[in-house]
């Protein structure tokens, strides 16, 4: 294995170990950049976890998880009270029937195109700003920048790794958790009040949380790069910037780019949700069409979203192949051109950032919000927090369940027959579709057939996450080491034996890591299904937004931050125990 591939493998593992705080899939997005073809990075992580899954601490975590799921199921009312509403099927059916007759009038197609451009522009500018923040922040946050820069030649190699910075580790994690732990939609609500009607709202609502995540991931990529060439330049007397640009950057820029693309994919989906709260674009059109129960129009918009998702999925996949330097450069130029185009199209008014009115409104909002006030009672707040956790747990259980099935059906290998290939293609389209329908829309749709309560919200998040997880799981299966399977088959093992001993141990660890990573995100996403009276903190936040109760909002945002921190820590230790 080349040192390069080795480093990549390290990235994959370390990210997982530390808990993909905004990583899991992220790590795959960049670790695959260099390793998809030649390095069995995911496999190494997977096989180890597989072998030790039965170790003692792992068993405790399994027991804890089972209890948590049981408690969440109890909270949803399943088995205790009726939860389904069969008479609502016709309403849901008429929504899906409309898929066959989307509104294709010239007028509406023009509007859809317009909205699509707005959504692309928002996502792109948000991502570009996040990547810029990530580059600067990532370099500044990397240990390589600080440690070796000031190191006198001849002194021993610096001690690195998470343990060496244990005192600062938790603090850093908390500090970075704040912008990241606040959902884009909440940033959007805050920025809309302060900045008013300007594209800046959507751009910044994406760029703030994404920028922090990107910085963190970039810092890690930089630190996982073997330091030899960088050290050599430093020793030769080069400055840190110069050494970084010549020695480190050329080796990692493919990874940085791949991760940027992954972020863009996330941004596209978030931009839709932001559109629903005022940023415009496809989200705005989608939710207003829904309010008018114009299903045919909704499908036109959903198809636009699917096409968009597919297009960028293909694009970023094409960049993950090693080599193809020219195509990468062309993509970069294309991205730059699109960025300039987006700026000209949206024309964000940067003067707003410094205008007196903005600061006045920000000050007024802060004055309103501080000190935070209790929405009702501590007991209510705790109850809502518990409901939020239950919803997120159910969402992940449902999402992983569907995701695993879809991944095994959707995995496509060289040499598959036409039937197998067709099933795989169908699965991918399905996953793309359920990802394209945003959680709030899913929630409102499910409300036709599932009685109100936490369940429709949890199922909505579950379906949406199935779309995301299914894709990640498929990737794991496709990059899996086939050798154990082949050798088992050659030894005459049956299908089930091959699956249980050849496939499962390799992928179970990765699947679990991804599911745990999405759990943390699902906690934040409960905010966007709050609209359906699903209970939990999202519901509280929604009514506070409606009544402009900023001090109550602050309390709920803090509560959500704490929850997301708890889940982050829990899932990080679960993953550690699991390996």
């Amino acid at each position: 294995m080349s040192p390069q591939a080795d480093a990549r493998a390290g990235v994959g593992e370390r990210s997982e170990e530390e808990g993909p705080a905004g990583r899991g899939p992220d790590s795959s997005a960049y670790s695959l950049a260099g390793s998809r073809a030649d390095s069995p990075a995911p496999v190494r992580a997977g096989s180890r976890s597989g072998l030790r899954a039965a170790s003692r601490p792992g068993r405790w975590w399994v027991a804890g998880a089972v209890l948590l799921v049981a408690w969440s199921l109890w909270g949803s009312g399943i088995g205790r009270e009726p939860v389904l509403n069969p008479p609502g099927w016709p309403s849901l059916r008429s929504f899906f029937a409309a898929a066959l007759s989307p509104d294709l009038s010239a007028d509406f197609l023009r509007r859809t195109l317009d909205a699509t451009l707005v959504t692309i522009a928002f996502s792109l500018l948000g991502t570009v700003l996040a990547v810029l923040t990530g580059l600067v922040g990532g370099v500044l946050m990397s240990e390589a920048w600080w440690q070796r820069g000031g190191r006198a030649p001849g002194r021993g190699a610096p001690v690195r790794g998470p343990r060496s910075r244990a005192p600062g580790w938790l603090l850093t994690r908390i500090a970075l958790g704040i912008p990241r732990g606040i959902h884009e939609a909440v940033w959007g609500i805050i920025l809309l009040v302060i900045l008013g009607r300007d594209p800046l709202v959507g751009i910044l609502a994406l760029a703030i949380p994404f920028g922090v995540i990107t910085a963190k991931v970039y810092a890690e990529i930089i630190d996982e790069t073997p330091p030899g060439p960088y050290d050599a330049l430093i020793t030769a007397g080069a400055g840190r910037l110069l050494a970084f640009v010549y020695a480190t950057l050329p080796r990692i820029w493919g990874d940085l780019l791949a991760y940027g693309f992954y972020r863009f994919d996330c941004a596209l989906r978030s931009a839709v949700i932001l559109g629903m709260i005022g940023a415009g674009g496809l989200g705005f059109e989608l939710i207003t069409a829904f309010q008018g129960l114009a299903y045919e129009r909704m499908w036109t918009l959903i198809y636009a979203l699917i096409a968009l998702g597919w297009l960028f999925d293909r694009w970023s996949a094409s960049l993950r192949h090693p080599g193809r330097a020219r195509w990468k450069r062309t993509s970069l130029l294309l991205g730059a051109a699109l960025t300039v185009g987006s700026l000209l199209y949206l024309r964000p008014d940067l003067a707003r950032l410094v205008s007196a009115r903005t600061w006045e409104r920000a000050g007024a909002m802060l004055a309103d919000a501080i000190p935070p006030s209790l929405p009702s009672t501590w007991a209510d707040l705790l109850g809502d927090a518990a409901a939020t956790v239950q919803m997120s747990v159910l969402a992940i259980v449902v999402g992983s369940g569907i995701g695993v099935v879809a991944a095994f059906l959707g995995v496509h290998q060289v040499g598959d027959g036409p039937v197998r290939a067709a099933v795989a293609a169908l699965c991918r389209v399905l996953l793309l579709t359920i990802r394209a329908i945003s959680p709030p829309v899913w929630a409102l749709l499910l409300l036709f057939v599932v009685l109100p309560g936490p369940l429709p919200g949890a199922l909505a998040l579950g379906l949406y996450n199935a779309g995301v997880l299914g894709r990640l799981f498929t990737e794991v299966l496709e990059t899996m080491d086939r050798r154990p399977v082949l050798s088992l088959q050659l030894l005459g093992a049956g299908r089930i034996t091959t699956f249980v001993y050849g496939v499962l141990p390799l992928v179970a660890g990765r699947f679990t890591a991804y599911a745990l990573y999405r759990w943390e995100i699902a906690i934040r996403e409960t905010v966007v299904v709050g609209v359906v009276g699903a209970g939990g903190l999202g519901r509280v936040l929604e009514s506070q937004r409606a009544s402009f109760d900023y001090s109550g909002m602050l309390t709920v945002v803090i509560a959500l931050l704490l929850l997301s921190l708890l889940v982050d820590l829990a899932s990080a230790s679960a993953r550690r125990a699991w390996r």
């Binding site: 809309l192 009607r197 008018g292 940067l350 003067a351 109100p452 409606a546 009544s547 109760d549």
Partner: protein, 315 residues
């Protein structure tokens, strides 16, 4: 030769190019676009009058109505008028406060919220139908609720799954909640948490489907859907038309005179109150389901404010 400049050039080539170009371009765009007045939206002359309305119905009908209204105002007042669509009620109030909307057709509650946040704003007018607005309570046919003839009768809603419309809708949430409480049914006496369907049409759909056993909405929308014949009367029944209350009105920003010239507020008010005198104006009023627009005053919305405070809808 390894120089700092060469290093930076390389940096630009390999990745930061995108962001570099982006930032430069955004600076130049931002600089050229509206930064002159320094105060964001405020202060600039030659800006159009930005009108808007809360999204309480089919967006196409809304756009058609507001654009017709914009065109009419533009011709009568001889200024540029632009319609700005907004996705939800709260966003509309926020944008009014941020100075990005000048004249908004608010519901009773959103109007009160916007007025409280912007005390200098002026109530311009209301429709002739607004002083006697009503909500309608509906129920799923299977829910075991029969029509009642007084507000007290609404006590049948206790223990039912009940959905309102938008959270800050006057006829879809505020007043229905108030009438329910008069019948002794607090929001906490409903089965589970009350729903917020997001729109009057969605309320009808959700009650028809049976997910919610009952709901309340704007009578105007209910009537219109009845006339269209789009309601399945086997599945959903009318329970009660509520007593009358004040609802929609137009709110104008307090800095309108400053921006559009002294006396603008008066000119606009006059234009609206005399709208029904011209053929074209009557057509506009008809878009709003009205015959004419009439004067409105802050006291008309006192009751709404009180109820809103009780429900904690005013922060």
């Amino acid at each position: 030769m390894l120089t700092r400049r060469a290093a930076l050039a390389r940096l630009a080539l390999t990745g930061a190019a995108v962001t570099g170009v982006g930032l430069t371009a955004s600076c130049s765009t931002g600089g050229g676009d509206g930064s002159a007045d320094g105060g964001g939206a405020g202060g600039g002359s030659g800006q159009p009058l930005r009108i808007s309305a809360i999204p309480d119905q089919d967006p196409d009908a809304l756009t058609e109505r507001e654009e017709a209204f914009a065109a009419h105002l533009a011709s009568v007042l001889d200024i540029d008028v632009e319609y700005v669509p907004v996705p939800d009620y709260a966003a509309s109030v926020s944008l009014f406060g941020a100075g990005d909307l000048d004249l908004v057709f608010y519901g009773g509650l959103t109007g009160v919220q916007a007025q409280l946040q912007n005390p200098e704003a002026t109530i311009v007018a209301q429709r002739d139908i607004d002083p006697s607005f009503t909500s309608v309570f509906i129920a799923n046919a299977e829910a075991g609720v029969s029509p009642v003839d007084s507000v007290e009768g609404l006590s049948v809603m206790a223990g039912k799954r009940f959905t309102f419309g938008s959270e800050t809708s006057t006829s879809g949430r505020l007043m229905p909640s108030y009438f329910l409480s008069q019948a002794g049914v607090a929001e906490s006496d409903l089965a589970g948490e009350p729903g917020f369907s997001g729109s009057h049409d969605s309320t009808i759909e959700l009650v028809t489907s049976g997910s919610y056993e009952a709901g309340a909405l704007n009578s105007q929308v209910w009537q219109a859907r009845m006339e269209e014949g789009s309601i399945d009367t086997d599945k959903v029944i009318e329970v009660l038309v509520s007593p009358e209350f004040h609802d929609y009105h137009w709110l104008l920003r307090g800095d309108a005179d400053e921006r559009f010239g002294d006396g603008f507020t008066q000119q606009l008010t006059d234009a609206m109150l005399t709208m029904h005198e011209s053929e074209e104006g009557r057509a506009i009023a008809e878009f709003y389901g009205a015959q004419s627009f009439i004067p409105a005053k802050a006291e008309d919305y006192q009751q709404i404010e009180e109820v809103a405070r009780e429900l904690g809808l005013i922060g």
